[in-house]
Symmetry: C2
Subunit: 447 residues, 2 copies
């Protein structure tokens, strides 16, 4: 592998430049910005490396960039990634333009650089290095790069259903992942699900002078009262049947939990919080983080939010609420239960829109791909990797798991990557080592 | 008066032009936009008419434009107005630029045209008409035009305290007022008070990926829970001692309430609401509107409010809450009670900022100025005016009432004026008649 690693080191500057070009192209699925441009750019890049690539349209959705390349062995490894990114807002909190990559202190800053474009480039460049040095990959590789992950992959199920043959593979490397708080590489084998909704309440046709609040209904109050029925101040989610099927970790998983680093004081200092929720500590904190579902207000808006005082009675109020779901919970079932809850509490006038639905997913501990990712990570990074039986984030992993693929993650992020937040970044060292890690996975899973 | 009315009619187009110039100059006190420019513009306008005008600075606040002109009689009438306007947001809902007056269907559209610049111009032009036709006013007139009414007049008390001599007068015409739902002129003799606060909650230093919501506190949830303790869903305000001193209308006032037009079906249709709050009707509705205090969410903001889904855990959440207060309530007392309430409920981490405080005020039914405004309105508009013992809006009336002035309102608005909302407007007919009404008040209150 020395020659391949050497090629990666020699071309590091060019790889960074190519990554910069990719992140400078905005691809905001929530706002339908730059989808086609990015798909075309990726296709060109992958084709140039030698990956047979095509853009597969999805009716009513953003296309999938699909690539494949044959190798020497008969095994097939799939890379799942997504080319869309989160909206950059709040833009005023970025230290540099989110769509103009800047290098500062050994880090590349740009929206999507960690989630997920840095990983896309790392994987393409690992393939490039292999082909340049050895002409042939040790196994077949497939790229599935979708364009709607950040809005909950609403059309990917249909794509998977219609392309089962195309998607046959032995295992899958998931989109990415960070080094942990102690700078150890991490591997996760599952993902939480997601049910993301928007609640909307309407009042009078127009904003009113707030002196009318004596007699005209206020949608902001109605929203606050309705939200308050969803969760109490001890974090109990109050929707009937919400916790049905939620399980404790298995004994095998529990063993892994003890090795997960969650350095409490460091995190509290970093995030400037006084305590974790419910003042949890130690294994209880880890267990809650990985094995408990959530009900999160991701956005809240009504009336005047500018400087100073404006005495207005708002005409509407909205909330975005995201539920992270654990195995045995189903987003469509939770959506139904939420609507029923609101109706039972007298809030049937509140409009509930489902903006994203994702099932949870888990690959059993000890699969071949999990072992390969773990062992190669140790070799590349010189540190024991930490294995998460499930990651508290979400994604459409379940669609591929249902095809029979074993799945494990590998990625170039770190705990300060600011995914979904201003000043998203990756460390250049992680990016280059990440390319080597992918190359070594190809080699070790290959034969 | 025929000659004076004739002068007003002949100069109507110019008056509209001058009003347009004044509203085209933004004056947003909440954002400190255009304050000096507007004060200078007013001074120039008033001086040109013959009013001795100066700009009186207020330390730490926006200046008062003060004008005076001697008349034949010994009585003095004061006009209270304000040159600042509400912020124009949400701008996208305006059919034309809020700061570029446009005439459509006999109405002038612009921010501040109704509240309160249309009234300022009407009063100046009534004085102009008198002087042009008769050379002298029948009584002394004083103009007090402040620049912070829309943010709760935080510095006017100090100004009044320091200028008691200057502000001596027999009576005061308050800033303005609309025709009612049946197009009858209205006169109000009092105002509610206001306590306007901003609640702020902080979470982690930065926005987090919403997968962290298992263990990191969410300020949006904390805000929702805290707000929910302020008012129940039957509109009862739950702050201890909030209703102390709140009284029923006097028998004299109650007689006036029966004459107030609140055409329920028309209002519901106009505003597209199904019912009034608590499904109130008739006299109960009027009584609640005038005699009950409020607790209103005027603004609510946290996290992502753009299109689609963003799975973010917000770093802060804010609410703007306005309390309209009735006689015997005091904004500083209510502010103290609110802070105590939040502390007692366990929310002492929530920052509470007082953004505006205004005491309630009432002039007794049957004062000379009230009778003059009512009788002249009947003469000008040919309809019985409706007298409101108290108006559900707010303003610094109490400061002048404490100086011993009797106060009554007169204005150029109508029920569709959209004060504090997009597409603010007045009807040109109302504007011209309003100028005549002011001229007749000068004449009748004069001798």
């Amino acid at each position: 592998m020395e020659q391949i690693f050497g090629y990666i080191d020699q071309n590091a500057d060019r790889f960074i430049k190519e990554l910069s070009e990719l992140v400078n192209q905005p691809t905001i699925s929530a706002q339908q910005v730059g989808i086609e441009e990015t798909a075309e750019l990726l296709k060109a890049r992958m084709t140039r490396v030698g990956i047979k690539t095509r853009i597969i349209p999805i009716e009513g959705g953003n296309p999938v960039v699909y690539g494949e390349i044959e190798g020497e062995g008969s095994k097939t490894l799939m890379f799942y990634d997504h080319y869309d990114v989160q909206p950059p807002e709040p833009i005023e909190e970025w230290e540099s333009d989110p769509f103009n990559a800047k290098i500062r202190n050994g880090k590349i800053y740009a929206r999507g650089v960690s989630d997920n474009k840095g990983n896309i480039v790392a994987r393409i460049k690992a393939v490039e290095a292999f082909l340049k040095v050895r002409r042939k990959l040790p196994l077949n590789v497939k790229f599935v790069i979708e364009g709607e992950e950040e809005i909950g992959s609403p059309n990917l199920a249909r794509f998977v259903e219609q392309n089962k043959e195309l998607l046959k593979a032995d295992a899958c490397i998931w989109e990415g992942g960070p080094k942990d708080w102690l700078d150890c590489p991490t591997v996760y084998l599952g993902l939480k699900g997601l049910c993301y909704v928007e609640l909307g309440v309407k009042g009078a046709k127009k904003d009113q002078h707030s002196s009318m609040a004596t007699i005209i209904p206020n949608p902001a109050w109605r929203l606050v009262h309705a939200l308050d029925t969803l969760k109490d101040d001890r974090e109990n989610i109050l929707i009937k049947g919400f916790y049905e099927g939620v399980e404790e970790p298995t004994r095998e998983e529990e063993k892994l939990l003890g090795k997960i680093h969650l350095p409490e004081e460091k995190i509290k200092t970093e995030l400037e919080i006084k305590d974790f929720l419910l003042e949890l500590k130690g294994l209880d904190l880890v267990k809650r983080h990985l094995y408990q579902p959530t009900c999160t207000i991701c956005g809240l808006g009504a009336g005047y939010q500018g400087k100073g005082a404006k005495t207005v009675l708002p005409r509407e109020a909205k909330a975005k609420v995201g539920f992270r779901l654990v195995p045995n919970q189903n987003p469509f079932d939770i959506f139904k239960k939420l609507k029923k809850h609101l109706k039972n509490k007298g809030y049937s006038d509140i409009e509930v829109k489902l903006l994203g639905a994702e099932e949870p997913s888990k690959t059993p501990v000890g699969s071949e791909i999990a072992n390969v990712v773990r062992d190669t990570a140790k070799e590349i990074y010189g540190k024991d990797p930490v294995v998460y039986p499930i990651n508290p984030g979400s994604g459409p992993m379940h669609l591929f798991q249902k095809l029979g693929l074993s799945i494990a993650s590998a990625g170039v992020g770190w705990t300060g990557s600011n995914g979904h937040a201003p000043n998203e970044n990756i460390r250049i060292g992680d990016f280059i080592e990440g390319i080597k890690h992918v190359a070594l996975i190809l080699q070790k899973f290959g034969p």
